[in-house]
Subunit: 249 residues, 2 copies
C-alpha cells in the first residue's frame, strides 16, 4: 500500500463525499484493486488527515451500495464480486446510462407523441385528477443498431407550464427534458417488474424471436420530497443483464 494519499481540497466542503469517491476509485482500479481489505478506520483517518467520523461516513456510503462489508474485530472487507458488476439495475434509474455503461451509443426512434386523459390508476399514481391531461411519449430505444427497449412515458401536462411540449425534442432522454424545462430531477422510482410476451406491435419493433419473452417495468419516478412526476412502461429485451443487489441490513 502507498505511504500517502492525495486528498483534493475543495474548501473543506463535503469531505466525506470526497473521501468515499476517492476510496471507490482506489478500490476499483487504484491501490486497493488487489486488496481484500481496506486499512483500518484509524489509519485512513490519519493518512487522509480527517477525523474518524469522516471516514466512517464515507465507508457507510460505500457499504450501503454493497461494495464493502465492515466486520467488528476484522476490518473492512471488499466485496469483489459486487465491485466487479458492470450494470447495477438497482442503482441506475435511466436506461441511457445502462446502455452507455455497456459500451453502446443509446438513441431512439419511432417516436409517437400525444395527449391523453389520465385513467384512474395513472391518476392515482401521479397524484393528479382522473381525466386530467397527460403527455404520452412512446419510443423505441436502441443500443447502437440493436433495438432493446420500447418505452411509454406518461407526464402531467401541467409540469411544462408555458413551454409547448410539441416543440421539444422527445428523442432525448425524458429525464433530461424534465431537468431542463421543468427543473425536476428524478431521484427515486418505484418499479414493478413483470414478464410479458407483449403485443405484436411492440414485438415487431423490438425484433424479438417468437419464443422470447420481455421484461416489463411499470415505474413511477419521484423527485425530491416524494413528488411523483412520471409513469413509464418499459419493455426490455434480453439485450441487457438485469443485475440487482438484494440485501438485508
Amino acid at each position: 500500500m502507498a505511504d500517502h494519499y492525495e486528498l483534493p481540497h475543495f474548501g473543506g466542503k463535503l469531505m466525506s463525499a470526497q473521501v468515499s469517491a476517492l476510496l471507490m476509485k482506489e478500490i476499483k482500479q487504484g491501490i486497493f484493486a488487489n486488496s481484500e481489505k481496506l486499512p483500518s478506520e484509524v489509519e485512513l483517518a490519519e493518512r487522509l488527515g480527517v477525523s474518524r467520523t469522516v471516514i466512517r461516513d464515507a465507508l457507510s456510503d460505500i457499504e450501503r451500495e454493497g461494495f464493502i462489508e465492515r466486520v467488528r474485530g476484522i476490518g473492512t472487507v471488499i466485496c469483489r464480486d459486487i465491485v466487479n458488476l458492470t450494470n447495477r439495475f438497482d442503482l441506475k434509474l435511466e436506461y441511457n446510462e445502462l446502455i452507455e455503461n455497456s459500451g453502446y451509443r443509446p438513441h431512439s426512434d419511432s417516436i409517437r407523441l400525444r395527449l391523453e386523459y389520465a385513467d384512474e390508476k395513472t391518476a392515482e399514481l401521479l397524484c393528479v385528477d382522473e381525466g386530467s391531461r397527460l403527455i404520452v411519449c412512446e419510443k423505441r430505444v436502441l443500443a447502437g443498431q440493436t433495438p432493446c427497449i420500447y418505452s411509454i412515458d406518461y407526464l402531467p401536462y401541467e409540469l411544462f407550464g408555458k413551454v409547448d411540449y410539441t416543440d421539444l425534442d422527445w428523442s432525448q432522454p425524458v429525464f433530461d427534458l424534465l431537468d431542463k424545462y421543468c427543473g425536476l430531477i428524478i431521484t427515486t422510482s418505484i418499479s414493478k417488474v413483470s414478464a410479458t410476451n407483449a403485443d405484436e406491435f411492440i414485438r415487431s419493433k423490438l425484433n424479438v424471436q417468437p419464443k422470447q419473452a420481455l421484461i416489463l417495468l411499470d415505474e413511477v419516478g419521484y423527485c425530491k420530497l416524494s413528488r411523483p412526476v412520471m409513469r413509464s412502461l418499459e419493455f426490455y429485451t434480453d439485450f441487457f443483464d438485469f443485475t440487482m443487489l438484494r440485501k438485508k441490513f
Copy 2:
C-alpha cells in the same frame, strides 16, 4: 404529537437500532402515521434522551431503505408511498417471507433431490472446482393452494460436512437448512432478472396460461464476508407484485 416517547432499555446496547425500530413503528402505525414530517433531530434527541448522533444514525438506516428523506432547512420528510408498499423485493431475500407477507401460507411439493457435478459457470459463481459435487434441490412452491414459484437450488456438497443431506427435510426453506445444519446465514444476493416462457414441465407445474410469461431469477446467495454458498434458479408466475425501489444516492 405525544409529549413523551418510551424508549426501552437493553443495557445501553445498540441504541440507534432501537431508535430506528421505534421510529419506524411510529411512522407505520403510531403517532407519525398521519404526519408528513418527523420532528427535528434536536427535538427527537431531547425527547428520547440520547445524543443527536444516535438519532442521525437511526435516521440514516431508515433513509437507506427509502422510507424518509432528509432535506436541509426543511426537515425529515416521510415518503408515504414507499412506507405503504407491502412487499419489497429488494429488501427480502426469501420467497417464503414474501408469501407470508402477502397473507398466504407457503409450502412446497414435487421435491426432486439429487447430486450433480458443477458445470463451469456454476463452479465459478460458487467458487468451487468445476466437476465438484453439488446438491441440487428442485421444488414447486405454493402460496396456499396456488403454485407460484418453481425453484432449483445448487449447493456445494461439502457445506454439509458429516450431515447426510438425504436425511434433511428439503420441503423446508433452504435458508433454514443452511442456517441450522451449516451455520450459514445468507445476507446478500446478486440476482439476474430475465423473462422466459420456460419449458413445458415447469409451465405445467405452475399451471400457467399459454400466453403468460415467467420471471426468472438467477441468484447467487452470499454469507458474511462475501462467501457464495448457493445458486438458485427461480421461476415466478405473476402471483406476486415484484416491487422494488431504485434510488440514486
